[in-house]
Point group: D2
Chain length 275, copies 4
């Protein structure tokens, strides 16, 4: 006998550009949205009975309808509206997850209706909701940062396969991913995001780093200390190694000037910091 | 007060090409390996004390040493060797996760020492091990498949935003991801992988599909029924929509001949099937 | 005064899946098509006069119409049909370029109506046509190949920045790109492609390689010698370095067993071989 | 008989991070460099004679040596130094091409030694040099821009496959690629790049666009009129379609608020504007 232990279905990569023309200057928001349903859908799997299955195409249509009808000014609020819509009308739906990535656009300097996409960085929002509870988190990812001073790595454990040199002055680059949860539920999401992003960048820049782990903790701690609304924060900081080029073999010095940035292999550090 | 709730560190994307010259014809295996350590490393985070931290660079070196020294003929066996090596020598290490992706190479037909990379498909192996227990799983991902008959979708739930037409004849394409666990621990991993892959492909091809959910379950069920070593299997099958082009507006028929394949948005279906 | 020196416009990435149900078993072809127009379109640039501009959206619609109406069994023949269609009806159009990439699908073994995408490799066709002449070429790209014997590199030029060791036994991997032109115009394109691909793979495998350049020439030469229809062939063969891991520093030998495959930097070699 | 009609070899994707510590605050430049040699290298192809072949590995080493030794403050000047180095010492080398992409980093606000990667946009420099002449060009690519007013497309050619509606108010998004050449050779490359980028963005924003072609020409014209050092400019502007969502079928209006951004298919427009 075989059975389903768990299942989920939905729609991913529903893309949306929303132009807010009701304020001056215009605002543009570009989102990529994923929706996942969990509930009593086992008959679809075992017997091909689709009578409880809302097509994922309808989920997509609904996103566009709600984008127009709801009043929302952040991905988090939009996600809540989407989750509520489906939970209110589908009795077999027990849990819905809404994942939103926002591609940031900014005004071309001095222009009211022209925009520039400001890079790889993505703002994220995630909502897991049932009829009785919901859990919201916000974050950012793909934020590439680098510091050129105040970073070392020494005093580490050595074995017979350890060849890494100790250093008190290296480049420290990472592609930051952060996700945080909130205390209370009267949150100004856009303002919280701006503030947390600023604290993360400043604490990264200012920390006298003894390791990636050390700085990761300092950054999470700074957020918890400076932003009252945050209950905990999860940080992922791969170590994107920049290797000092050995020019001594050519009789040339290289006092931390010329490096090779590498994509792989990559260190990987993650932790969740709580109050 | 802030504290660490959970943390992990390691190395990802350690790439390795192994040439087995001890058999004829030569075999080539290309792997990308990730290693993650969990244990009592909090002093590194909170105080920059690296004395218990084995550098991730050493993890990389160790992978290359073990690739040469261990006797292994599958990613799963290699992963076990890597995990055992670190658990045996590092007392602060409580849990290690080894993730391996294998890029498949096959011989150029008729050639003993020349190879062709056979595509996007990846074989995967994952091991989570502590001193007292380990959990191994195997899988595949990025296997793009398509069926051109025996696929429909009808009888689904409709609301006022549902515009999808019912159909009893559509294209059904997906990018299969599968991950399975084993019964017992005397497994021939290469043979199990070959057999499970074949069952997945055949059951996909032969199923009279009433939905993606319906076929996903049938595929998982077929694996559990036909492969005794498997305890459960998790399948992810996005619906990569191929849209029939409306040529009627130009007075031309299109009896399921001309389609637009799309990458986004995408349906998403997943389930774990157990005995 | 400013002026336009050259211009072109068109549509790229028009994707198409064609299911041939008129033969048994079914065949599937997936194409991505680009169309580029050159002609007397300067008024659109200088004055916003669109009266001679066929929308690129119409180009897309036309591709789908022609996919249904034309009789074609290769990307090359389809490209000719597309080019002829536009040249016949648009008098301001002087030159049209049609670029087609084909994503290869093969039958799941033993199955008539289920398919497997066989990888990164792409078949390519390019047609540049005017009312008086046309130039067709065919090719392949992203074909990843590797040989584990019969490859060396020595006797090269050295200067004070040369650190590369000479070797008579290295791995030789590349991502092959080939594009060829034809003699005559009564070509069986599918058969030519199969034959040329086979000759390229076999000559790569069998060549006693003294350098990438040396093997590239041998491969082009083999095509010209063995395939009468080809007038010339252009080959691009980046050197995807697989670096032997130095295990001697750990007291362990590594007789060409363990390598690190790298994506960057990459050697780059190209040449056009003619009769 | 077969022969080589043309050939070239070199190294691509040589990555470099340069930290300028000689000024306050620190500056970081990240480059990816490609070098291509053309000359009398046919014996390497036809006979495996490597005696005139400088290894591409040496090219890579040389880039790092020159990064340290040369005085350079722009990719263009660095490219000139690289080209000169090789032409000066290799008599068989007739022509060298140096291609540089710069990944832009900016200071984290208020921080002297910490940086933020500002996105997908790349600055480019290309130099083709022989002993007697050289041709330099500069550019940018992957700059994603969007305007939400002053864009229409109407009055175009229609045929029986044209279904596109005329519009006087649409979104206009593109991923700008620009490459320009210079008058004279006493150019301040960094200043020229800043100025041209600003003119491109402002003219895009301010233009009353009747088509992509129309705006592309206006942008090129603005550069030639406002930047005296530029002799000509080549612009590529794919039309990244943002499609208005039809909500009328649900009884809901959509006055240019909700759009679907799409990656494919894509319009494609290019032109070279000259004085």
């Amino acid at each position: 006998m075989t059975a389903i232990q768990s299942d989920a279905y939905g729609k991913t990569r529903v893309r949306l550009t929303y132009v807010d023309r009701d304020r001056e200057p215009h605002q543009v928001r570009e989102l990529s949205i994923g929706i996942l349903f969990e509930g009593d859908f086992s008959a679809a799997y075992t017997h091909g009975d689709n009578s409880r299955i809302l097509p994922t195409d309808t989920m997509k249509n609904t996103v566009y309808v709600l984008a127009r009808q709801l009043s929302w000014d952040s991905a988090e609020v939009f996600a809540q509206g989407i989750a509520k819509h489906f939970l209110d009308r589908l009795q077999d739906l027990l849990k819905v997850t809404v994942d939103i990535e926002e591609i940031p656009w900014q005004h071309i300097p001095g222009q009211n209706a022209a925009f520039l996409q400001s890079g790889n960085e993505r703002r994220t929002a995630k909502l897991r909701a049932s009829r009785s509870a919901f859990e919201a988190s916000s974050g950012l990812k793909d934020l590439q940062i680098l510091k050129t001073s105040d970073s070392g790595f020494s005093g580490f454990l050595r074995d017979e396969y350890t060849t890494l040199a100790e250093t008190d002055d290296r480049l420290f680059g990472t592609v930051l991913q952060a996700q945080w949860r909130y205390l209370g539920d009267n949150i100004s999401f856009n303002e919280a995001h701006r503030q947390i992003r600023r604290v993360l960048l400043e604490s990264f820049a200012r920390h006298a780093s003894l390791s990636v782990q050390h700085t990761l903790f300092a950054m999470g701690q700074a957020v918890l200390e400076q932003v009252g609304d945050v209950s905990n924060i999860h940080l992922v900081m791969p170590n994107k190694h920049c290797l000092l080029v050995d020019l001594a073999r050519f009789g040339i010095d290289n006092p931390n000037r010329v490096f090779v940035p590498t994509d792989e292999p990559s260190g990987y550090i993650e932790a969740r910091i709580v109050r």
